[in-house]
């Protein structure tokens, strides 16, 4: 089982009351409230956290990126990945991930990732995302072509990594005269690709058709089981049987040396006011053309304030009760996580450990307890439950490298 540490890298040093008053904390929330002195301190603290985490036994770092929002300071996950490639030694660097549609030049992205893979000596897991709606607006990228760009940029990155150059690319959204990046990845056929997501069925189906592990981001246990049902069904239709090696799960887990302190800090998971991507206007999070046409009717009602957010905004207590937020000492948390692993059977597990205004000292305590106690226990439970991760099973990086297909699948879309 692969267990990794995650934080959104929150920019906690901003006046949250002003955000609440404005009614939004993303996209249009003015960057005049960004304090670069605090930003510099926080970036360096977060960097120290990863280094410390590796020393404490953490075997993977999950990194991500967002734009125009205080809840996440990373605007380019490849920057932290590059630094960690150089300053850490063993932990996997798991990008979940680069928002492909934002790339105007996927070949350059392929080059960056190849460099990270080589500098890290093959520790890169290169996840890809569509990017939230706000990311498209923040980067001036057309949301109506989001999924098309995601799929084509993926195909181009993979081609740039694995096809002998030079070749030409004449696609719908990308055209390149000469694709021939000098730097190619160390890992062959190419670095593992994991696909995180929250809601879109299309992404689950796409990931299953590629045989890429799907990482459910902070979804409820029930929703997560439904995701596996769909993934497993598509996998069977595609010609393979999905198992734990195809499943990842990210959850919010804060551990501390006392229950009281753990609860106080876990409440910081609501720092973004209960939304996954901060407070925002619905049409920023889901611009027209970005979301699935099957949801159009429900969404338009939500967008004008006539319906509740389909994802809901559960209270802290509800989230604890639903098994979305965990807190406690290692002794009380481990049995709870065992139940999650028994029920959902992922082989990849991301621990979203610290958020909001958790102090540097408490964040380090959490990381130490995760690395020394919680994660080793989870790896043992994983062994016991047969939750073998893609590294352990040597799972094919992509469907096309499968040797166990039940029948000739149609070409992966």
């Amino acid at each position: 089982m692969h267990v990794m540490y995650f934080t959104e890298q929150p920019m906690s040093a901003y006046p949250a009351d002003i955000g609440l008053e404005a009614g939004h904390t993303a996209l249009m929330f003015s960057n005049k409230y960004f304090d670069p002195v605090a930003g510099s301190r926080l970036y360096n603290e977060y960097l120290e956290h990863y280094i410390y985490a590796e020393e404490q036994g953490v075997e993977g770092f999950m990194l991500n990126e967002h734009h125009n929002a205080p809840f996440c300071m990373q605007a380019k996950c490849n920057i932290f990945a590059s630094i960690l490639a150089a300053v850490t030694k063993k932990a996997k660097i798991v990008l979940l991930g680069n928002p492909l549609p934002l790339a105007e030049n996927p070949v350059r992205l392929a080059e960056e990732l190849a460099m990270i893979d080589m500098i890290s000596k093959g520790r890169l897991v290169s996840g890809f995302v569509r990017g939230g709606g706000q990311e498209q607006l923040a980067n001036g990228v057309n949301p109506a072509y989001n999924r098309e760009r995601f799929e084509e940029a993926h195909d181009l990155v993979v081609a740039a990594w694995s096809r002998e150059g030079p070749f030409r690319w004449e696609g719908t959204h990308y055209q390149h005269r000469v694709v021939n990046p000098w730097a190619v990845p160390l890992q062959k056929p190419y670095p593992r690709v994991w696909i995180p997501g929250v809601l879109s069925q299309e992404t689950i189906i796409w990931a299953a058709k590629q045989r890429y592990p799907y990482i459910a981001l902070n979804t409820s246990i029930e929703a997560t089981k439904k995701i596996w049902e769909l993934y497993d069904k598509v996998a069977l239709e595609t010609g393979y049987e999905a198992g734990p090696e195809n499943r990842g799960y990210l959850q919010q887990v804060h551990v501390s040396d006392s229950e009281e302190k753990a609860e106080k800090n876990a409440r910081q998971f609501l720092w973004m006011q209960g939304e996954f991507t901060g407070l925002a206007h619905p049409v920023w999070a889901n611009p027209s053309g970005y979301f699935s046409p099957t949801l159009r009717r429900n969404f338009v009602e939500f967008a004008v304030g006539r319906a509740e957010n389909p994802r809901g905004r559960p209270t802290f207590e509800q989230q604890v009760a639903d098994g979305r937020v965990f807190f406690g000492t290692p002794k009380t948390v481990i049995p709870k996580l065992r139940r999650v692993l028994e029920e959902t059977r992922p082989s990849i597990y991301g621990i979203w450990g610290n958020d909001g205004t958790v102090s540097n000292e408490d964040a380090r305590t959490c990381i130490r307890l995760l690395g020394q106690e919680v994660m080793p226990a989870m790896r043992e439970i994983g062994k016991e439950l047969g939750l073998r991760d893609p590294f352990e099973t040597n799972a094919p990086v992509h469907l096309k490298y499968s040797t166990d297909l039940k029948h000739m699948p149609q070409a992966a879309e």
Partner: protein, 263 residues
């Protein structure tokens, strides 16, 4: 005067187009193509009726705007302009007047630039399509469907008269319109960098009309159109927002009808 309207469906290559055509029952009339806003259009509006008393009025629903079937290949409003040239050819329409409303004004200007000798008169009302020398075209991406439509009116009572309580069907239609606007006019948003350089060839006299409270397209864009076209008159309609046609139909018709009636 009696006006007869009928709905028609036209196939242009792969594109299925729906249009309304109306005019005087009792005599031949000059054809006038009316091109609607980026928020789509109700099938009938008092402004369309006023025109149809005098002219053979053709109001196509822009492909992809409010209709679930969408030409996915389209990338620019110029594609719609070329498609409408095809429409006019298939309908056998010659020397039409063209009235472009807001986004439809952009398409109308593109049509005139593509075929500078073809049109009898060109009317642009709050037209998008050129970069306003001052100010920016309002970005609908950051507001809700209703807020965008509301911003298109000077008087909210006029909005209510047209759209009432706004049905879910209307919201879905606006979302489709917005998606198509993004597909073909995302960047640069709602203008062409080349169009101003092509307008000088247009032979049709032009009437440029702006609402005095247009919050969507700055008046400076109207001035830019008036400068770029050979023969253009710029008029302002009082107490009107961007959707002059919906808010002040009579005042607009009083400007447009005599202008198109000129020979």
């Amino acid at each position: 005067m009696a006006v007869a309207w009928n709905e028609q469906r036209v196939q242009l290559g792969e594109v299925k187009l729906r249009l309304w055509r109306g005019g005087p029952k009792d005599h031949e009339a000059r054809p006038v193509l009316v091109l609607h806003h980026d928020i789509g259009t109700p099938d009938r509006l008092p402004f369309y009726d006023a025109l149809a008393e005098k002219f053979d009025v053709i109001v196509p629903n822009h492909p992809g705007f409010g209709e679930p079937e969408r030409p996915n290949w389209m990338r620019h409003p110029r594609d719609i302009a070329a498609l409408y040239q095809w429409l006019l050819a298939d309908l056998g329409v010659e020397r039409a007047g063209v009235v472009g409303l807001g986004f439809g004004g952009w398409v109308a200007a593109e049509m005139a630039a593509l075929a500078p000798r073809d049109f009898h008169r060109l009317v642009l009302v709050g037209a998008m399509g050129v970069k306003p020398p001052e100010g920016n075209i309002f970005d609908q991406a950051i507001v809700s469907y209703i807020d965008y439509a509301r911003a298109s009116f000077h008087d909210q009572a006029a909005f209510a008269r047209i759209f009432g309580d706004v049905s879910t069907d209307q919201l879905v239609a606006w979302d489709l319109c917005r998606e198509m606007s993004f597909r073909i006019a995302w960047k640069p948003y709602m203008y062409s960098q080349t169009l101003p350089h092509l307008l000088g060839g247009v032979r049709a006299p032009a009437l440029i009309v702006w609402g005095d409270d247009d919050k969507i397209v700055p008046y400076s864009a109207g001035q830019a159109y008036a400068r770029a076209l050979r023969e253009a008159r710029l008029e302002m309609v009082r107490n009107a927002g961007h959707c002059v046609d919906m808010e002040q139909p009579e005042a607009l018709a009083r400007l447009v009808i005599p202008f198109i009636e000129q020979n």
